[in-house]
Symmetry: C2
């Protein structure tokens, strides 16, 4: 691969310019701002490397799908998104979030890592390989999403209507990832599923004087009792049948988990906490993080929020509940269990409004696609890799792996201080270029190997 790597080094200014250019576009899905323009720019980038992308407007967003033919029959898919998180808090940025700069080898701007850095790196990798070798070793599909940061709400519809545009991929490289603080590349073999539900309870028509609470039910208390019935203080979820689809981890997955670095002191320092969730050991918490489901509350509100006393009986209470699902759980089934749980426990007045539903994704560490990528990463990244069963969080990966029955992994150009979603997001130029090389080499490795990808 020396020829391709040399070409990449010689074209580094061009590649960095492409990234700077894309970072200057404000593409904020949550504000429905600049998405069509972002898609147009991505189309231009792809045309520059000789591809013929399709622009697919859908709902309030736009997808870009691109196919490039290779000399072998395998097809790799790359999923990236060109929308970003909003830049807030603006005053915390040292340089303007949409006027990126390179300083001391680090490129700063909103989206530098998440996800424009990865998006541009992968396109440049394809171009470099093609220009040096005159062909691609395998087929490539690019799928560019314009609303990942708001949960890709149109993706199920996209797959229903345009699924045949992406169903040829035999394996996916998902949006990205970081190096950890030991400079090891982090590789994720899956992602949590997500079930986000807003709970609401309304007990009367309007807020009353607090002294009425002897007689009139209090919405805040109802919500508290209902929530308390869902999870105990050891973090065990108490919903009947909730764990029915939670399978014990494979020996391979346990081996991965047991190989993870565990440093309770530094993690406590990082988050400035005195204990781990559930009052448990870090080992137990990491097991939950990577192998089991867990239940978050991202917000709740009821009644009076101001200073001092306003003695009212709140007539309504709300809560946003987020189930991070384990690899084999089905969000629809979980929703039905939660709904039944409330009915069975006398909380019939809790109204459930699901707002996000994403299936989990799990690729076995033994899958050929993952094996080849991990093997190559250990050759290319000098400090080696750390492999995680899942990326904590949720994204549309599971929609693809579940529907098409193919493997997917996620890795990328970030570093331990890339500050994604935060002010001063950045990517190191060196990591960006190494990421391009890795993707180019991955095409070759996948094209050369006779191994099944599954």
């Amino acid at each position: 691969m020396d020829d391709v790597f040399q070409y990449i080094d010689e074209h580094s200014s061009l590649y960095i310019d492409r990234l700077l250019h894309l970072l200057r576009k404000e593409t904020l899905a949550i504000q429905r701002k600049g998405i069509a323009e972002g898609a147009e720019y991505v189309v231009g980038l792809l045309e520059d490397i000789g591809a013929v992308p399709k622009l697919i407007p859908l709902g309030e967003t736009t997808y870009v799908v691109t196919h490039l033919d290779g000399s072998h029959n395998h097809t790799i898919g790359f999923y990236n998104h060109f929308d970003t998180q909003p830049p807030e808090r603006l005053e915390a940025w040292n340089s303007p979030p949409f006027d990126p700069i390179v300083h001391d080898g680090i490129l700063y701007g909103r989206g530098a890592t998440d996800n424009k850095g990865n998006l541009v790196a992968r396109i440049c990798a394809i171009e470099a390989y093609k220009n040096v070798r005159g062909h691609l070793p395998i087929n490539v599909i690019f799928l560019h999403d314009g609303e990942e940061e708001i949960g890709s709400p149109n993706m199920p519809t996209f797959l229903d209507q345009y699924g045949e545009l992406v169903d040829k991929a035999d394996g996916w490289v998902w949006e990205g990832g970081d190096k950890n603080s030991d400079e090891q590349l982090e590789i994720y073999l899956g992602v949590n599923g997500m079930l986000g539900i807003e709970l609401e309870v309304v007990t009367s028509q309007e807020d009353l004087h607090g002294s009425r609470s002897a007689i009139v039910p209090n919405a805040a208390w109802k919500l508290i009792w209902a929530l308390n019935s869902l999870k105990d203080s050891s973090e065990r979820i108490l919903v009947e049948n909730f764990y029915e689809q939670v399978n014990p981890p494979d020996p391979d997955e346990m081996a991965i988990l047991n190989s993870l670095p565990i440093d309770p002191v530094s993690i406590k320092r990082k988050y400035q906490i005195t204990e781990f969730a559930g009052g448990q050991s870090l080992a137990k918490a990491l097991e939950r993080q990577y192998l089991y489901p867990y239940l978050n509350i991202s917000g709740m509100v009821s009644g009076y929020q101001g200073d001092g006393m306003k003695c009212i009986l709140p007539h309504s209470a709300k809560c946003k509940l987020e189930f991070f699902l384990a690899p084999d759980q089905d969000p629809e089934k979980v929703f039905s269990h939660v709904s039944n749980h409330f009915k069975d426990h006398g909380f019939d007045d809790i109204v459930l409004n699901p707002y996000t539903t994403m299936p989990p994704s799990r690729t076995k560490p033994t899958a050929g696609f993952a094996q080849l990528a991990m093997e190559l990463a250990n050759e290319i990244y000098e400090n080696g890799t750390v492999v995680y069963p899942i990326m904590p969080g949720f994204n549309p990966m599971g929609l693809f792996t579940k529907r098409f029955g193919v493997p997917a992994i996620s890795l990328g150009v970030g570093n331990a201080n890339s500050r994604i979603h935060q002010p001063n997001e950045n990517v190191r130029v060196e990591d960006f270029l190494l990421g391009i090389k890795f993707i180019a080499a991955l095409l070759e490795r996948l094209g050369q190997s006779p191994q099944s990808w599954k």
Copy 2:
């Protein structure tokens, strides 16, 4: 009393004018607006009837204390306040809240009942009696408070520094009360105590991504578990030793309770509810309302409140908790029980900030002062009376009855639709004038009776 009553009827225009005048003053303790001016006007009113009031500025408020001598040695105290609730929501008023009008025999304005209507009625009653009879039958103390609507925060200091100005009262008539929808006068023999505590739990330095909740404790969950440990869904308070000062009601109090009208259907309709608190009968709920303590949440908040999803792990959660205390409970002791409860149950990270502390007040229905007032009210109010062991809520009454060991009752000029604290607050002119007559007659009755007031 016909002579005095006739005098009152002849001077009704003057009395209504006095009330209209006072209602034109914006006296909003919560905004620290117009309190000194309100006090000055009350002083003027009292000087008009020949009294020599004392103005006592204290902290950010002003008290007015007035003594009038009578021919017997007993002293009656009247507690009223000249501050009001803010008028919001302004757009819901049919006439300007501080430009009162009389329409169809009803006087509308903020404070018409609570508490300027009662304040003016009582001063006019004293004047009428004195002018007709040339003397007062008993001594009178007026105490006028300027910050009742924010919980009279300076009252304990006032009593410490100026207690001797009010310690001669052998019995107090507290600020007011209403007629119910059957036109019966409601008489309250006491009031709940109050312990308001803000709970706060902080689990980390800042909000994190929701996926960290497998590892980092969630402040919202901590608060939920802590709150759930305080009260079960049958409204039973689970704090250890909480009920130690809750005594079973007297037979007299039970008799009062059993005499209360119970109409579950109309109460459900009034509040538009489908069940009573605790899922219990109205009888049980009323027992709690008038004889037992109960625990309200007036507000709670944590994390993200907006629409849609923002998947965060909230680092803090807050809640305003209000204990409505039964007649013999001591708020300081209850605070210590709650504090111990959290420590004993592993909720050491819950921070408790008490914001309101008021002792309860209980006057036995057999106390002479209450007996004489109830007897007279049954003569004067043609539909009779309903007597309640306590007024649900809290006010400084307990500071007086506890400190001075004297009885206190509360009753007044309101009606079932007086809308206190709400837009279009009002008092019926007829009730205002009857209230003046009742107070005048009460002076005479108390002066004539040889009965002990206790």
